[in-house]
Amino acid sequence: MATNAPNASPGRLPAVLIASDGRHPVYAPPGLDAGVLVRDTDLAALAHRVASDCPPLAVDLDSVAGLGSDDVAVDFITGRLGIHVVLTRRPQLAARVAERGFLGLVHVFGYDSTGMGRSLEAHPRTERIGSVLSPGLVIVHLRSDELADLPRPIVAYGLIDDVEDARACMALADAIVVRPTIAARLAAQLEASLVPG
């Protein structure tokens, strides 16, 4: 059974984040550069998962019921819980994560070109603060100038629901978020490609 490796490099982003609600164990498939992203959960479930044999690598802070949206919450997540990749809608919280030496990722909403531009206006654009493009699948439809305008690292998050789409998004993003079934299929494809013909 593979487990998530400890954060050898604080805030290191794997190529694949596997989405989990934190209530059930989720393991990265062997051979895939992957970690677990916990979202849509509650504080107790998150703390429980941190103490398990499959601790999350990243958390979508705004989707954790019971958790505040302030510096105290960031310090708890990155310090006490040891989660060093934090996704948030709030640029000031991402900045706090970065100040602590970890990776903050600000949600950028890619519904249309005008809205994405406005969404980017609030981005801090400083070191250790990247972007979470929502929905992630739209990344393959961005023009090169729009892609270049997104502060990296870029995580493509949302509606990447088949392996071909996942691979297309991986070619453009620094990381993608997928469900465990898609991660398993990606790993299987990768393994198959490594088997000598």
């Binding site: 909403f109 249309d112 739209v138 439809h141």
Partner: protein
């Protein structure tokens, strides 16, 4: 003389006949939209308190007008702003607020619910909102990914517009093939494109 907007069926037929609608985000794009073949002009930005003049210009060109009540300046998305837009002669109102759909219809305008596609786990909730609010049309954003996600959406009976990042004829064709009634686009080259 007061203006009576066409009923939703007429609005839908106009879009179906000429499926590329002009989405304008700046006043300077209005002139190009007016002279284009686009059947409907979607006003997504600008001054909602001074929209009547633009509405008259668009009507004079034989086109219909939809206004995004959440995005134009000067208006709060509520029943009173919907009544304001009705008085200005607007034919359709777009909003992400499902609770406004009955008010829009009550004013005789076409009610367009804007649905933002975010994550798979939220699609059921989003489609449930269609059932609750009973819009005449749903505008799905980002429309460019509609062909990839249409199979993930629970079935619903409301006509769909695809908006957001639709910038090529191929993308228009893909959206229409996926079942969209039409597209809204700020790409002027597509305004009036018939989808073929």
């Amino acid at each position: 003389m007061s203006y009576t907007p066409p009923d939703a069926e007429v609005f839908i037929r106009r879009v179906a006949a000429d499926p590329c609608c002009a989405a304008i985000t700046a006043e300077e794009n209005l002139g190009a939209a007016i002279v284009s073949r686009a059947p409907v002009v979607f006003i997504l930005r600008g001054n909602g308190l001074a929209v009547a003049h633009d509405v008259r210009r668009i009507h004079d060109a034989g086109k219909l007008v939809a206004v995004h009540v959440d995005l134009v300046g000067g208006l709060r998305a509520d029943r009173s702003s919907v009544a304001w837009l009705a008085k200005a002669g607007v034919d359709a109102v777009i909003s992400s607020h499902g609770q406004l759909m009955p008010a829009i219809r009550h004013e005789g305008m076409t009610a367009i619910l804007r649905l933002l596609l975010v994550r798979r786990s939220q699609l059921d909730t989003a489609v449930a909102a269609i059932g609750r609010s009973a819009p005449d049309i749903v505008e799905i954003l980002p429309g460019v990914i509609l062909p990839s996600v249409i199979g993930l959406l629970p079935p619903f009976e409301v006509p769909v517009l695809a908006g957001g990042f639709v910038r090529t004829q191929a993308e228009v064709g893909a959206a229409l093939s996926a079942g969209a009634l039409g597209v809204t686009t700020s790409s002027q080259a597509l305004w009036g494109f018939d989808g073929n």
